[in-house]
Structure formats: C-alpha cells, structure tokens
C-alpha cells in the first residue's frame, strides 16, 4: 500500500479526527486536496480502490443517523475496508457497559478505525487518549461534527474558490448545533466572516465576550440584516423538541422570523449559495419551492460527504502506516 496520490502527507499528524478546532489551516487545506482527489475518482466512476483493504471500520452510533452513517459506510467500502455497524440498542451498552470498555471490546475484535456518534459533548475527547484504533467523530452532543464542517467547506470552496473575507450566515438553533460549532471553527480558521442569526434563546452564552477559546462572530437577530450581502446562507435543522416550549413560542413564529425564502434570498449576493446539513424540515427552515433553486446545494453537500470521509479515512490510514 504505497502513497500513490499526489498529496504531501508529512503535514498530517493526527491519529484521530475529534474536532476541527484541532486542525491547522494547512491541515484543513490538506483535507480539501485529498477530498478533491477522492471526488475525481467518484466522478470518473472508478469508485473502488484497495487502500484500506484488510482494514476494519466500525461505526458505533448512539444516536439515530441515516446520512452520516451511510456516508461513512460507503466511503470506507469505496476504499476497500470491511465495515461493521454496531447497533447500540442490542449491544452490551444497553446493559450499562462503560464507553471505554465498549471501545476496548471493539478494538479487541479487530476495529482499526472507529466512527462514533455520541449524545454527550466531549465523549470522544475523553476516550481518545486510551485508544489504539483511529477515532473519527461523527458528532458529539452540542460540541462538534467535524466531518460535516469539512464537507461544508469543500462544498463552499467549489462555488467560492477562496473563503477569505466571505460572509457566511448560519441561521437557526445555533445553541444546540454541533454542525454550527464545527462550522464556526472551520470557517474562522479559513478567513471567513461568520454571522450567527437566531433568537437569543437559541444562541450559546458568552458570544459577546472576547475570548481566546472561541472565534469571534457577528450576532444578528434579524434575518434580513444578517443575509444582506451574504456569500453563503446555511440554515440549520430545527429539532422537533425545540419547536415549542421555553426556547421558542412555536414553529410558526420561528418560520416567519427565520425561514429562508425566495424574497429573503434576494438580499444576499446574486451568486450566493444556500446550504443545510439535512434533513430539511420543508417550509420551516427552507421554503419548499426553494429546494428546486439551483443555488440550493443540499445534495452536493451529501455527495461531497462521501469524498471528505474517504479523504479522512485515507489520511488516518497513511498516518498509521508512515508514522
């Protein structure tokens, strides 16, 4: 298994993908370059390769997922790996096994890479130091979803070429969104201007205070002000449990205030693109008829997800082989 791709992997020094926060801009560029190679392969319809032949990728999801899990599975299989999906409800986790013991068990049965989604923030960071297998974070609590942020960046770069100075507006439930958190880190590192647009109850605390621990962002409560002159508008999915209660009076008012529709999109730059991590609540975050607009790139995001995940698995495999 030789390094047959035109990528300088000496700049890569990660055994795990825990968070975009850990990656330097140069490393993010490296992921983008590797993704480009993978994407070309997918487009040439020569999907299958054997770089990960003989390796076992285990997906361990403590939360429901269709696209992320499927995307990882296809990515791993495209690279020739064997994939095992662990269903949490039927495993010994349901019997109260600790996370670290579950992971040790999966390593013992031969996992080389573990793709995990966990409902608690920081779960991956807590277990990674004890792991032999490479760990990829497929989402932890409200904290991070690095592969989503990287596929979003790849998608943006296809349309915008460079992120420097771009106005990227993220709209919706920022507070509980790991997608938003990882995007804030990733986009800030790449030089974009991040604008968050939400009612105050759906924003995390402390955004106004200068801190070395979090990127500085612009906060807007009015979607029209936020969108004006935007290069990208990313709407987030409003989870069912947030739709009414003490955070929002109801879905109708949220829709009136924060939905992206044709009229509001006209306020953005003419070539601005519209993104959504999916699955979309049609006519809530996004006006349903907007989904047919060519500027809405939701399906490109999903397709790019496979390439990004192939790239990350490949980088981790190389790191393991050449380190």
């Amino acid at each position: 298994m030789a390094n047959t791709l035109p990528i300088n992997i000496s700049a890569w020094n990660h055994r795990h993908i825990l968070d975009v926060q850990d990656l330097s801009p140069a490393e993010i560029e490296l992921v983008m370059e590797t993704t480009k190679v993978m994407q070309e392969r997918l487009l040439r319809n020569s999907k299958k390769s054997s770089e990960l032949s003989g390796k076992t990728v285990v997906t361990l999801f403590y939360e429901a997922s269709t696209r992320t899990r499927g995307s990882f599975e296809i990515a791993a299989k495209n690279l020739g790996a064997d994939v095992v999906n662990i269903t949490v409800q039927t495993s010994s986790v349901a019997k109260g096994e600790s996370l670290i013991n579950t992971i040790k068990t999966l390593e013992s049965i031969g996992a080389d890479f573990l793709v995990m989604r966990h409902p608690l923030s920081g779960a991956h960071i807590s277990v990674a130091p004890f792991m032999r297998a490479g760990l990829i974070n497929a989402g932890d609590g409200w904290h991070a979803h690095p592969t989503q942020a990287l596929l979003d960046l790849f998608t943006m770069l296809q349309h915008l070429k460079s992120m420097e100075g771009r106005r990227i507006v993220i709209v919706g439930d920022i507070k509980h969104s790991r997608v938003a958190h990882s995007n804030i880190w990733c986009l800030s590192k790449m030089g974009a201007k991040v604008v968050l647009c939400a009612p105050p109850t759906l924003l995390p605390a402390g955004l106004g205070q200068a801190s070395s621990h979090f990127p500085s962002v612009e906060v807007q409560h009015d979607i029209r002000t936020a969108i004006a002159d935007a290069d990208v508008i990313m709407e987030l999915r409003l989870q069912k449990e947030r739709m009414k209660g003490d955070l929002l009076p109801g879905v109708e008012e949220f829709t009136r205030s924060y939905q992206l529709n044709t009229a509001r999109l006209a306020l953005a730059k003419p070539q601005a693109i519209v993104m959504h991590p999916g699955p979309v609540n049609e006519d809530i975050e996004l006006e349903a008829k907007l989904l047919h607009n060519s500027r809405v790139v939701v399906n490109e995001q999903v397709a790019n997800g496979v390439a990004v995940r192939m790239a990350l698995l490949q980088l981790l495999a190389w790191r393991e082989e050449y380190a």
Binding site: S98, H118, L120, S126, W142, H213
Partner: protein, 425 residues
C-alpha cells in the same frame, strides 16, 4: 497520654489575637500554658522553629461517605485525610446512603467516629427526609443525638414553604440551616458555568443567577423566620453581594467558600477535565476576586473544603456522567496559601476562616489556643514546596484537579486532643 511541648513556633491564634514566637505546653488533652522558654519536664518536645502553630483547622463541610459509599471514603480514611491536611474537626454531610435524616443514623456516625476517627467528627443531619425536599426530618431528635446543623447539601430545598417550615420548626434548637444554593429550574441541567468556556465545549451552562436567586430567597426566609442560615460554597460575585446586603440588614447569616472556588476558574475544565467538575461549578476570575474581597471584608465567614472523594471510575467517563467534587482535605492548606503568598489575604485572616470563625458558627470552644481549650493544634511550614501526587493521598478519593501541581505550604504535625494524629515524616 504524655505531655507535649511545642517549642519556638510562630503562634497565631486569630480568635485570641495571639501572634508571637513562643512555646505551648499541652497536658491532659488541653492547652496548659503559652509562653517563652517553657521547661520540657518529661514532655515530648516538638521543634516548631520557622513553622506556624495554629489552632487545629475546622472544616464545616466535608463528605465522609459513610454509611453507603465506603468505596469512596470511610470515616476512618476521611479523618486520616483531615489530620494530614491539618483539620482536627470535620463536619460531615448527610448525603450518605441512607441519608442522615434520623437520630439512630447520627448515633451510628458518632459510634463509628468514636472507634475509628482520628479527629473530631460532627455530623450534620438532613433538613428533609431522604433529602427529598418534601417532609421535615426528625430535627429535634437528631440535635439530641449530636447533629450540629441541618442541610440537604447536594440539593437545594426547592419548595420555599418547606424551608420556611424547617427554619421555624428548628428555631428552638438554635442550629444553623446550611443551604446548597442552586435553583434547579434556573440551572437548566447545566453542569459548568454559563459562558464562553461552556460554549466552546458544547456543554450546557449553569448561570450564576441560579445561585444568586437561591441565596436571595433563603436570606429573605431567614430574615422572616429569625433562623440562622449558613450559605454553603458561595461561588459567584452576585451571591457575595446578596450576603453582604443581608448581613447589613442584620439577618443571622454566615457563609463559606471552598479552596477550589478561590483558586481555580472555569478554564480548568477545558478538555473536559472531569477532575475540575464541582457543584456549584468553577466560575470566572472576576468571581474569584469577589470571593476574596468577601473573605477580607467579613462577608464570607469561613473556608470549608467540600471534600468530596470519588472512585476513579466516577470521574473517568463522559463529562456529563462524571461525579461532582474534589478530594480536597489534603490540598486545602497548600492551595489557600497561594492567596496569602500573592498578597491578597493575610495569613491571620486565612487562619481565622479555618479556626475561630467556624468554631463560632458551631458555638463550640474549639479553634482556640486559650488555656484549658482542647489541645487541637496544627503546625505547618508556610513555604515548604511539595508536588501534589494523588497516589500519596490517604483519602480513598484520589480525585484532584491539582495532580502534579507545586504547592507551597504543608502541615508537619497535627495534634488532636493532646495526641499527635499526623506527623509528616
């Protein structure tokens, strides 16, 4: 029991205004004489040259975990840790299993302590049965069995009318009600201070307002009932201000702060460091400043450890599932002397907060170097450098955020009731 002569120490007893170089003679478990060049006749001599000799420290707030959680701590191991940290009196919290909500359980703790503890143990009983916040516990019977205060620590008494009744019912006993002030609704499930540190880790925030509202409500109830109220582990600037105003109005109010809230900020939690997970959570540098101001102006009366030992697996897990608390008895003095060494608190004030001030809340004649007071003393080197290594803890709880840290100041000898109960060899 043999006599002990402590020679040439820097004797500081804030309650008596003593601050002098000299000797102390102990006999029959009591302090017999303070002076210069006292004769050693048949006594064991402890050379305290260049060391501080203080009344033994009193901890109003620690968790000894017995009965029920003996894997975390026992009365025996917890009091050994106390002695090592210079504490000769510890008040143990009732959130055991079963909780200390009736007289036989208070007697149980006192019986175990009589046989196995190496320092004085003063049990605190529950305010409500099973700490459920719904029915009053047997406060009178517990007081008769030796309970020194009442608390549902770990829980705030959520229903204000239950706390009002508890204050009224226990009024004839004259014992303080100790409250863990955090309004559960306002905490909103948050386990770390609300702010950018919580945000960057994607953790649910616990706003300082949850503590401040709880403190304000309880002060109003104490004012209304005339009961004695003691606020446990104050952590926010706003809570300090509530207490300051309450004291100005003459409410029978006292308050404590922990070594960790005085010395560590929320940044200690970065990287999901479960060792720094405590309740209430670590706050901001501005809160720390306000807590130190509160100590200096008398708003905060005492320093208490909130020693909360846990097993390794209680901390080695996902952050949200990790237990709250620090095994703090053995690092308390070294941590607190940082604030003295950086000039923000005088040594005398620090010692007052650890000795005469808690004694006065307990209304006991301890924490003193008066002739005939119990011979409870702590001798320590205020500058001695040492590195925290939890594998050397005598507490069963090795949970500390200070692992590997260099501290300045260490206890050399602890004497309880005229007997050496700890000696640093």
């Amino acid at each position: 029991m043999h006599d002990i002569l402590i020679k040439n120490g820097h004797i500081i007893a804030p309650g008596e205004g003593i601050d002098q170089i000299g000797d102390i003679f102990l006999s029959d478990g009591r302090i017999k004489q303070l002076g210069q060049n006292l004769p050693a006749t048949n006594a064991e001599v402890i050379d305290a040259t260049e060391q501080i000799v203080s009344p033994g420290f009193i901890d109003l707030h620690c968790h000894l975990r017995q009965p029920g959680f003996e894997a975390k701590e026992t009365i025996q191991s917890g009091t050994k840790a106390a002695a090592k940290g210079g504490f000769t009196t510890v008040c143990c919290m009732p959130n055991t299993s079963p909780p200390l909500d009736n007289a036989p359980l208070i007697t149980y703790v006192n019986t175990i302590a009589a046989n196995e503890a190496c320092v004085r143990v003063l049990p605190i009983g529950c305010i409500t049965r099973a700490r459920n916040g719904e029915e009053l516990s047997d406060m009178v019977s517990m007081a008769q069995a030796g309970a020194v205060a009442f608390t549902d620590d770990g829980n705030y008494v959520r229903n204000p009318n239950i706390l009002r009744r508890a204050m009224q019912y226990s009024l004839p006993l004259g014992l303080p009600i100790i409250e863990h002030c955090e309004d559960a609704d306002l905490c909103d499930g948050g386990q770390v201070n609300e702010g950018i540190i919580a945000t960057t880790q994607g953790l649910c925030g616990n706003s300082s307002v949850a503590e401040e509202i709880a403190v304000a409500r309880d002060i109003i109830l104490a004012e209304h009932t005339g009961a004695r109220l003691h606020i446990a582990h104050v952590s926010t600037r706003g809570a300090v201000e509530q207490i300051r105003q309450g004291k100005k109005r003459g409410v029978k109010l006292s308050a404590e702060v922990t070594p960790h809230h005085l010395t560590l900020s929320e940044e200690a939690l970065l990287g999901y460091n479960t060792q720094a997970k405590v309740s209430p959570p670590l706050r901001t540098p501005a809160d720390i400043e306000a807590l130190i101001d509160g100590l200096n102006d008398g708003t905060i009366d005492v320093i208490a450890t909130d020693h909360a030992p846990h097993r390794i697996i209680d901390k080695q897990c996902e952050f949200a599932n990790a237990a709250c608390g620090i095994s703090g008895l053995e690092t308390a003095l070294g941590s607190l002397l940082k604030i003295v060494h950086n000039g923000k608190l005088s040594l005398t004030t620090l010692l007052a907060k650890l000795t005469c001030a808690p004694a006065s809340i307990l209304r006991m004649k301890i924490g003193s170097l008066q002739v005939n007071a119990p011979a409870d003393l702590t001798i320590f080197s205020p500058h001695k450098e040492w590195i925290v290594d939890s594998s050397n803890f005598v507490s069963h709880g090795h949970n500390t955020p200070l692992e590997g840290e260099t501290l300045h100041g260490q206890v050399s000898t602890t004497i309880y009731s005229g007997k050496v109960v700890y000696r640093n060899t």
